[in-house]
Amino acid sequence: MRATLANAARANALRSEAMDLRDTPDEAAFRAELRTWIEDNLPEELQGHRGGAARFEGEEMRAWSRALYDAGYSGLTWPKEYGGGGAPYTHQAIFLEEMARAEAPPHVGVIGLGMAGPTIIAHGTEEQKSRYLAPILSAEEIWCQGFSEPGAGSDLAGVRTSARLEDGHFVVDGQKVWSSFAHLADHCILLTRSDPESSRHAGLTYLIVDMKAPGVEVRPLTQITGEAEFNEIFFSGVRVPAENLLGDVGGGWQVAMTTLLHERGTLGFALQAALEVQVRKLAALARDRGADPLQRDRIAREWIEMQAVRFTNYRSLSQLVKTGMPGPEGSISKLVWSEANQRVTKLALELLGPDAALWDGSAPYGGYWQYQQLRSRGNTIEAGTSEVLRNIVAERVLGLPKSR
C-alpha cells in the first residue's frame, strides 16, 4: 500500500490528471470569450425575464437565438458534420452557467436542441439529418414533443395514439398533452402505437410530424400561473410520409429512451445554473427586506444545497468526459433541483410578507417571486415526476428489487 501512495505521489507530481476544480486554460478562455460576447450582444429587454413560454413568441427571441447560432453557440456538443461545435461537454456546461449568470434567455429551440436533434443524430437517416438538423441550430424551425397522453403520463408505455401504414403514409389519430412550444412548433417528435394488437413497450413507432399538416390541432392549456406554456395536440387522420419514420416500425420505445436520456442528461447543468441565479436573487431579496435568524438559517441551507447540486453535477460531468458515461450521482440532480427550487421560491414569498399575495404589476419586483413559486410546482412533475425519479434511483442505482 505504501507503493500505492508512492505511485499516487508520482502521478500527483505530474499534475496531468489530478483533481482540479478550476477551469483549464482552454475552458477559462472559452468562458471569458463567451462572457464578453453575452455582455455585448444580449439586448437589455431580454435580460432577467421571469420565464414562461410566452416569452418565446416575440420576434426578438428568434433574433437572439439566431445571434447565438451565428456566434457558434448553438449545438456546442453536436458533431461538426451536422453544424455543431464538436465541443466537449465541459463547454456546454460553461455555456449554460454563463447564460444563467447573465440571466439570458435560452435559445428558442429548447426541444430541438436538447431532444429532437440528438435523437435524429442517433437514429435518423442521412436525409433526415440533412433536412432537420441545421434549421434547429439556426432557430428557423421549432420543435415540440408528443409523448404524454391523457392515459399515458409517467407510464409512457401506455401510449394509444395510433399510426396506421396506408399507401406510403402513416395515418395518425390520437391526442397528446403537456406539449411545450406546440403552439409555435414546425415539427413534433411523436410516439405512436403502430400495432393495434401490441401492448406496452412493443409495437410503438417514433415519427417526425409536420405541425402544419391538415388534421393537427393545437389547443393551449392554461396552467397554474395563468399562462399557456404547454398545449394539447389533437391528431385526426394526419398523413405522415413514411420517410418521417425515426428508427424502425415497432422500435419506437428504444428511440424514445434516447430522447429521454438527452432530456435528463443535458438538463442538469441548465437547472443548476438556474438555481444559482435563484439563490443569488433570494440573498439579494433578504438584504433588501431583511431576514430573521430562522430565515437566515434557511437561506444558508439553500445556498449549501445549491453548491451541493453544483458539485454533484461537476462530478457526474467529469466522469462523462473521462469515461463516456455520466456517474450514477447525476441521476439525482433533477430530483434535488426541483425540490430546492420549490423551497427557495416559497422562502422568497415568506420574506415578502403580506406583499406575497400581490400579483404581477401590483407586486414587488414585478411579481417575479409569485410567478416563480407557482411555476415551481410543475418542477417535480415535468420531465419525470419525483416519484418516478426515486424509483429510478432505487432500482437502477441502488439495485433494489423492481416495484412493478
Binding site: M19, A300, W303, A308, T312, E329, A394, L398
Partner: protein, 322 residues
C-alpha cells in the same frame, strides 16, 4: 475542470477498504507502515508528500470502518501546525497527537501528546492530567485535561485559519464514510428481507426513503470533496466550503443512519447490530467542533454580508499562565 479521483487515488481507496476489513483495529504503527500517517508530510521528513485529497480518501474509509484511534485527531485536527521534525515523528509512527480545540478533547485515551490553543499560539500541553469521559460513541472517546502548562510552542495562532477548515472538512468526509456503510447495510437488508411475501425493497415506502438517503449522501459527498480540494489547494473558499460541508454532511450522516435503522426494523434497534455504532459516530461528528445550525449561521453571514467565514475562535482551554 476535473472532479474525479485519479486511478492512483481510487486504488488507494480500494486497498484501504480491503486493509480495514481485514484489520478492523489497526495500531498506529501499522497505519504509519502503510504511509497513512505521513500522507501530507514532506518526503524529506519521511512522508509521502501528497495532500489532503488523499487524506480525505483515507478519512472516508476510516469512517466507514469506524476506526478507533487518533488518526482524525492527529492528521485531521493538527498535523500542518506541527514543526517539520514533529511531523516526521508522526509519519514514522512514533507519536500521535490530539488538539484541545474546545474543553472536550477527542482520543485522549490513544493520542500520545496533546496540543492546546493558548493566547497567541498553539503549544504542546505538558504535565496535565487526563480524564477520559464516557461517551455515547465508544469508538471515539472525549476527555478533559486538567492542570499542566503550555510547553513547546508549535505554531502561531494564525495556524488555526488553516486548521479549522481542515478539521471541518475531515469531519465531513468521515461522516460520508459512516453514512455509506449504514446505507450499504440498509440496501442489503431491503433487497433480501421478505415480508408479506415480497422483498421489502419493492415497497416504495421503503425504497423511496433509501433513494433519499442515497441522494443526501451524494450531495454530502460532493460538498465534502469540494471542501477537501479547497483545503488541499489552500483555496480562498476553503473556510466557507468546509463550513458548508460539515454542516450538511454531519446532518446527512445522522439522517442516513436513522433511515437505515428504520428500514431494518427491530434488529436495527438492537445492541447486537452494528448500525447503532455507526449512528453514534454520526451523532458524535454532528456535535463536534460546530453543529450544522451554527455553521449555517456562518454561511449566512458569508452569503448575506460577504463575511469570510473563519468562524468563532475555539474556546481556550488554558490561557497563558492560567
Amino acid at each position: 475542470m476535473d472532479f474525479t479521483f485519479t486511478p492512483e487515488q481510487e486504488a488507494l481507496r480500494e486497498q484501504a477498504r480491503e486493509f480495514l476489513s481485514a484489520n478492523p483495529e489497526p495500531s498506529w504503527q501499522q497505519l504509519a507502515e502503510l504511509g497513512w500517517t505521513g500522507v501530507s508530510v514532506a518526503e524529506e521528513d519521511g512522508g509521502v508528500g501528497l495532500g489532503f485529497v488523499e487524506e480525505a480518501v483515507l478519512l472516508e474509509e476510516l469512517g466507514r470502518a469506524l476506526y478507533k484511534g487518533p488518526y482524525l485527531s492527529t492528521v485531521g485536527l493538527l498535523l500542518p501546525a506541527l514543526p517539520s521534525e514533529l511531523q516526521a515523528e508522526v509519519a514514522a509512527g512514533e507519536t500521535s497527537w490530539t488538539l484541545a480545540f474546545g474543553p472536550l478533547v477527542p482520543d485522549l485515551d490513544t493520542a500520545d501528546r496533546v496540543a492546546i490553543v493558548a493566547g497567541d499560539g498553539i503549544y504542546e500541553l505538558e504535565g496535565a492530567e487526563r480524564e477520559v469521559l464516557e461517551t455515547t460513541d465508544e469508538t471515539r472517546p472525549l476527555g478533559v485535561v486538567r492542570g499542566g502548562e503550555p510547553g513547546r510552542r508549535l505554531a502561531d495562532a494564525e495556524a488555526l485559519d488553516v486548521l479549522r477548515p481542515r478539521s471541518l472538512a475531515a469531519l465531513a468526509i468521515e461522516a460520508c464514510g459512516v453514512a455509506r456503510r449504514a446505507l450499504e447495510y440498509a440496501i442489503e437488508h431491503a433487497a433480501s428481507r421478505e415480508q408479506f411475501g415480497r422483498r421489502i425493497g419493492v415497497y416504495q415506502a421503503v425504497s423511496h426513503p433509501l433513494a433519499d438517503a442515497y441522494t443526501r449522501l451524494e450531495l454530502a459527498r460532493s460538498l465534502s470533496l469540494w471542501a477537501a480540494w479547497c483545503v488541499a489547494e489552500a483555496d480562498e473558499q476553503a473556510p466557507v466550503a468546509a463550513a458548508a460541508a460539515k454542516s450538511f454532511a454531519g446532518e446527512a450522516a445522522v439522517q442516513v443512519c436513522e433511515t437505515a435503522i428504520q428500514v431494518h426494523g427491530g434488529i436495527g434497534f438492537t445492541w447486537e447490530h452494528v448500525l447503532h455504532r455507526l449512528y453514534k459516530r454520526a451523532l458524535w461528528i454532528e456535535s463536534f467542533a460546530a453543529s450544522g445550525s451554527s455553521l449555517r449561521a456562518e454561511v449566512a453571514a458569508y452569503v448575506l454580508e460577504g463575511k469570510k467565514a473563519p468562524g468563532p475562535s475555539p474556546e481556550p482551554v488554558l490561557t497563558q499562565g492560567g
